[in-house]
């Protein structure tokens, strides 16, 4: 059974369909990439998985359980963490509070300290700034905070919406490097990107245009495809 299976998912805002009958499946340990231009429907797919927008049609199965109709906090409790687009951290909460607010497991001093320590080990920068207000962090640090917040529950699946957006190439590389570490620690990753360089990290993915799947396959297949070469790599 796949960790996450999307069957004929459609998402619409009023009469406007953002996603039309998209299907894909993630196995445990995968880094699955949803690649596409602006408005291709990538963000809508993530938002419907995490319950922020309702699915108009299709099914969203996590380990066989249909997630449709669950509230976002219930999806998070089911082990699926979402790092929303645009580094949505809490600017007036301290770094430590930003992290602990999302901690949902059995809440004792010890379990929370362990989760915090794990995140701080991955992002030492956050430990240094743990008392600082989230809004005072730099762009890269805020992205790390958003990822760290999503990791506090040791999710089975981590979904990230354009984590490299607005970051310098060096910082973007650092973020992808950390994602590789997170994956090696056993978390499956669903990554939304406009930037095809993230394929380096991927095991597979799909390419979306106007809400439909135009290409699906393993990393090599995507990288070698004429479509990606022309549209994303410029070669």
């Amino acid at each position: 059974m796949s960790l996450l299976e999307i069957e004929n998912l459609s998402v619409a805002y009023g009469d406007l369909f953002a996603v039309r009958e998209v299907s894909f499946a993630l196995d445990e340990g995968a880094v699955f990439v949803l690649l596409g231009a602006n408005g291709a429907g990538k963000t809508s797919i993530l938002r419907s998985i995490s319950g922020l927008v309702p699915a108009r049609g299709g099914r969203i199965l996590a380990a066989g359980r249909d997630l449709r109709g669950l509230a976002p906090n219930q999806v998070a409790r089911a082990g699926i963490s979402h790092v929303p687009e645009g580094r949505q951290i809490f600017p007036n909460l301290s770094v430590a509070e930003n992290l602990t607010v999302s901690f949902l497991k059995e809440r004792t001093k010890e379990t929370m300290a362990a989760a915090l320590a794990a995140v701080y080990e991955l992002f030492p920068r956050l430990a240094e700034r743990r008392r600082q207000a989230g809004g005072t962090l730099s762009g890269g640090e805020q992205q790390m905070l958003a990822i760290g917040r999503a990791l506090m529950n040791f999710p089975k699946l981590l979904m990230l919406d354009e984590p490299s957006l607005g970051l310098s190439p060096v910082l973007a590389d650092l973020v992808f490097e950390r994602l590789a570490t997170i994956r090696s620690l056993g978390t499956t990753i669903l990554l939304v990107e406009q930037n095809a360089t993230c394929l380096e990290l991927a095991t597979g993915g799909i390419i979306l245009a106007n809400g439909r799947v135009v290409l699906a396959g393993t990393r090599d297949r995507l990288q070698d495809s004429e479509f990606v070469r022309r549209a994303y790599l410029g070669v």
Binding site: S81, Q88, I89, F90, N92, S94
Partner: protein, 342 residues
């Protein structure tokens, strides 16, 4: 005390703890001195009943401001109709006492339950929506209660309002000829509400409320039950307001629809937290004291000058000044100075 959110910690972990603890200790000392001064006031020879009545008024508005601060300051939900809960507390206590002889010790809980029910209905209907719907609904509920209070004359006294039957000094019926007992009652309220605010700020609920205030979508993505969090904050605040309403009723002995549900009352409930500092435990206390002091001074001034309504003008100017120069209130100014001094 500033909210932890506004604090920028020093980089050295050893050095960053001590200023915080120093501030805590200083706040504790200030608080203790303030309590001692207020508690000693009725025993001083030069303090007359007028001055004590002003102190009672300040304490009541501080308590009401503390209650509003929970939902609006910590939770970021702009309630423009908290007068509804104040009025329910007043009317419930007053009607049950006048018509059924029920002491306010029991009436207070009936009022609190009514407020809880109204807040539950109002919150369930509006808190799932984002934006201004909640704020508009709070006004609508106030207006509706205002109309009900004017309509059911037999029960509420209609436009003329409701006056408590006076039985003389009685602890059981919370009545007194002098304001002195209400100074102590008000003090108990303010201290209790301060600790409730501190408890909320330090609790998981408070953290979730502040997260929702910052960003609803991110809070939902972080696993916070946004609707549930907002509703709990509203329910707590409504009950606190209603219970303080009973104190209001006992100390003023009368209530009318305009005083309970009118817009100017709703605004007065917000001023302590707005002036003192939204979302902080000390804000409504400092803000409420400043507000009542100014109000009395301008009242006195307008009587001397023979011009009515100066107090409203001063409120307006004060609010403008706060919004423009100290958006985080008086406590925000203190926090900024504490940071600059380090």
């Amino acid at each position: 005390m500033d909210a932890p959110a506004t604090e920028r910690g020093a980089s050295d972990p050893a050095a960053e703890r001590s200023p915080r603890r120093d501030r805590e200790r200083r706040a504790f000392i200030y608080g203790f001195v303030a309590i001692a001064v207020v508690a000693a006031l009725p025993t001083l020879p030069f303090v007359n009943d007028y001055l004590l009545a002003v102190v009672v008024r300040a304490l009541i508005f501080i308590a009401l401001g503390q209650a509003w601060n929970v939902v609006a300051g910590i939770g970021g939900l702009l309630s423009l109709g908290h007068g509804a809960f104040l009025g329910l507390g007043c009317y419930a206590t007053g009607i049950l006492f006048n018509d059924y002889g029920l002491p306010p010790w029991l009436g207070v809980w009936v009022g609190a339950l009514l407020s809880l029910a109204v807040a539950l209905v109002m919150g369930t209907m509006t808190l799932r929506m984002r934006g201004v719907f909640f704020a508009l609904a709070t006004i609508a509920v106030s207006l509706a209660l205002d109309q009900l209070a004017r309509h059911y004359v037999d029960l509420t006294g209609g436009d003329n309002g409701l006056a408590l039957k006076f039985l003389g000094d009685s602890l059981w019926f919370m009545q007194s000829r002098t304001p002195t007992p209400f100074v102590y009652a008000g003090l108990v309220f303010v201290i209790a509400y301060y600790w409730i605010t501190r408890w909320v700020l330090g609790s998981r609920l408070g953290l979730q409320m502040r997260a929702v205030r910052d960003d609803e979508v991110a809070a939902a993505a972080a696993g916070v039950g946004v609707f549930r969090t907002k509703l709990l904050g509203l329910l707590l605040s409504a009950v606190m307001t209603s219970v303080a309403g009973t104190l209001y009723m006992q100390s003023y002995q009368a209530i009318d629809p305009e005083t309970a549900f009118g817009l100017s009352q709703a605004i007065q409930l917000q001023l302590p937290a707005l002036i003192g500092g939204l979302g902080t435990a000390w804000g409504p206390i400092v803000g409420g004291a400043v507000m009542i002091f100014l109000s009395e001074a301008t009242n006195w001034g307008s009587t001397k000058l023979g011009v009515a309504g100066i107090d409203i003008l001063v409120y307006g100017l004060l609010l403008l000044a706060v919004v423009m120069y100290a958006p985080k209130g008086i406590m925000g100014l203190f926090a900024a100075r504490a940071r600059g001094g380090r």
